[in-house]
């Protein structure tokens, strides 16, 4: 089955002020989601939740020499990349059916087909 990556974008402000209970509820939602992927006939290849962008360090190449190190994410956005799943699904419709179940708070998810090295 082809692989798709589900990128989760959320407003980080929601996390900064989250209580431990709220945090636990979100973690449980993700646990439930991973179970639902299998129920939907897909499977998880990989996944991770990311620490907030305040902890990010960016290395940016500017043509010549070694990359410049800066504090912060590569792109500053209100809704930041907060985590991802790599899943296997039959086709885009199947991947979107699964992605619809993915918890993303008040934000949303982006679904991208993953490059298949055997087809390169």
């Amino acid at each position: 089955m082809p692989q798709y990556t589900i990128l989760i974008y959320e407003d980080e402000a929601n996390w900064v002020n989250a209580t431990p209970e709220q945090f636990r509820a979100v973690m449980e939602a993700h646990d439930a989601f991973t179970a639902q992927i299998a129920e939907q006939g897909g499977s998880i290849v990989a996944g991770a939740g990311l620490q907030p962008t305040a902890t990010a360090t960016t290395l940016r190449t500017n043509g010549a020499g070694s990359p410049v190190v800066t504090d912060g994410p590569f792109v500053e956005t209100k809704e930041a990349l907060g985590g991802f799943y790599v899943i296997e699904a039959r086709d885009l419709d199947h991947a979107l059916t699964i992605a619809r179940l993915c918890p993303a708070g008040t934000g949303g998810v982006e679904v991208r087909p993953t490059i298949d090295p055997s087809q390169m």
Binding site: R90, L92, A95, P113, Q119
Partner: protein, 418 residues
């Protein structure tokens, strides 16, 4: 086979292109699992037809002839380019490959194939403008330069748009299939939206001097008829076809000989296409029957009431207002509310209509919509408030880029400035 002369063959080719293009592309796509290759082979088949039909006559079944040539060409190219194509993403076909026979099947398969092509072109993962362009190219067979002309972009822009869209279908794995069950209503909605957009784009060209592009209108109507034949139980399909047929029945009178716009109330009703109006009326009945009517059914019912009125003065505005109330409930769009305001003016007088229009003035979704100030201007004119009407006509003029509409508004403006 019948051996026929030049003009007859030309007509047969045009007819085959109009009727069979989607069949040929869809059949080729099933084998090729690549829309580019399918399009190329369909094109090749029509070129072959143009070469051989004048010499050997038009085949008894042009569609089968074209499909056979196109699918053979697919197989030929696939054999030759197997190694090269192994590296390209293929169309996701949910059916197992071994169930794909390399020869023609009975007609039911092609019906299904054509629908698969339509639903794939109108997949919500594609931008609306890409859906429209793909549908015109792959389903309707309009040439890229003609599509570019209809949407006022350069040929290279349109070609790039088509290439990008076809690439996304393959690379993102948009499945080549007809959606089922819970997915169907939304997906069908998207298809109907695209067809309606084609029709309106052909009927009121967004820019330029011509108000109507008959080629695009014809393709939209034909697509509507195809969908109606393929999905006879979908009432909104009947509704959309009714709306297009009834609107098109008035095509001849919408523009005067000098190219200027003629309002509904001023159109010569004797020149309306009675057969079209009758056909549309029957479709409206089918679309309204059984359950809550959809937005296309209601719009068609309104258009039908206008078309069936013996004169503008005898229009059943009370019934039209009632239909607008229902329409606003299923489709709470500010444009519908604006049209409803016109009906209010006809039933309760221009004062009431103006109040309804002004209630919409703050809606940001109508910003830049020329019909809002144009409607306001017309009501103010009828109330004798000429200075305010002139101001509203000028505002409408600033917002329209269509030559015929500009000329109409300028004429009305001159009328209230006198």
């Amino acid at each position: 086979m019948t051996v026929a002369g030049g003009p007859t063959v030309r007509r047969a080719l045009d007819e085959a292109h109009r009727r069979e293009w989607a069949f040929v592309v869809a059949a080729a796509a099933r084998l090729a699992r690549d829309l580019d290759l399918a399009e190329e082979c369909a094109q090749d088949a029509f070129v072959r037809a143009a070469e051989t039909w004048p010499r050997h006559g038009v085949p008894a079944n042009p569609g089968a002839w074209l499909t056979t040539v196109a699918t053979r060409r697919v197989l030929d190219l696939l054999r030759r380019e197997r190694v090269l194509r192994g590296k390209l993403p293929l169309l996701v076909d949910p059916r197992p490959a071994e169930s794909d026979p390399p020869v023609l099947e009975e007609a039911t398969v092609f019906r299904d194939d054509r629908l698969r092509l339509v639903f794939t072109c109108c997949h919500p993962a594609l931008a609306r403008e890409a859906q429209v362009a793909l549908t015109l190219r792959l389903v309707c067979g309009l040439a890229t330069p003609d599509i570019a002309a209809a949407f006022l972009v350069s040929e290279s822009t349109m070609a790039a748009r088509l290439t990008r869209a076809k690439h996304k279908i393959a690379a993102a794995g948009i499945p080549y299939r007809v959606p089922t069950g819970a997915d169907l209503p939304d997906r069908l909605d998207a298809v109907l939206d695209v067809v309606h957009l084609l029709f309106t784009a052909g009927h009121a060209a967004p820019r330029g001097d011509a108000l109507v592009r008959p080629d695009v209108v014809e393709r939209a109507l034909q697509l509507g008829r195809t969908l109606r034949a393929l999905l006879p139980d979908e009432r909104e399909v009947a509704g959309l076809l009714a709306l297009m047929v009834v609107t098109d029945a008035r095509r001849a009178t919408r523009v005067a000989a000098d190219g200027s716009l003629v309002l509904l109330e001023d159109q010569d009703r004797r020149r309306w296409d009675r057969a079209g109006i009758a056909e549309g009326g029957a479709l409206v009945v089918a679309a309204l029957r059984g359950g809550r009517p959809g937005r296309f059914a209601l719009q068609a019912a309104i258009a039908s009431l206008h078309a069936e009125a013996p004169s503008a003065a005898e229009t059943d505005w009370a019934q039209i207002l009632h239909l607008y109330d229902l329409l606003l409930r299923v489709w709470p769009s500010p444009v519908v509310a604006l049209n409803r305001a016109v009906a209010v003016a006809m039933v309760d007088g221009p004062d009431a209509g103006l109040a309804a229009v002004d209630a919409l003035a703050g809606d940001a979704r109508l910003d830049g919509y020329a019909y809002l100030p144009a409607t306001r201007a017309d009501l103010l004119r009828r109330l004798g408030r000429h200075a305010e009407a002139a101001e509203a006509y000028r505002a409408a003029l600033r917002l329209t880029a269509n030559g015929a509409e500009q000329a109409f508004l300028a004429g009305r403006l001159a009328g209230v400035e006198r």
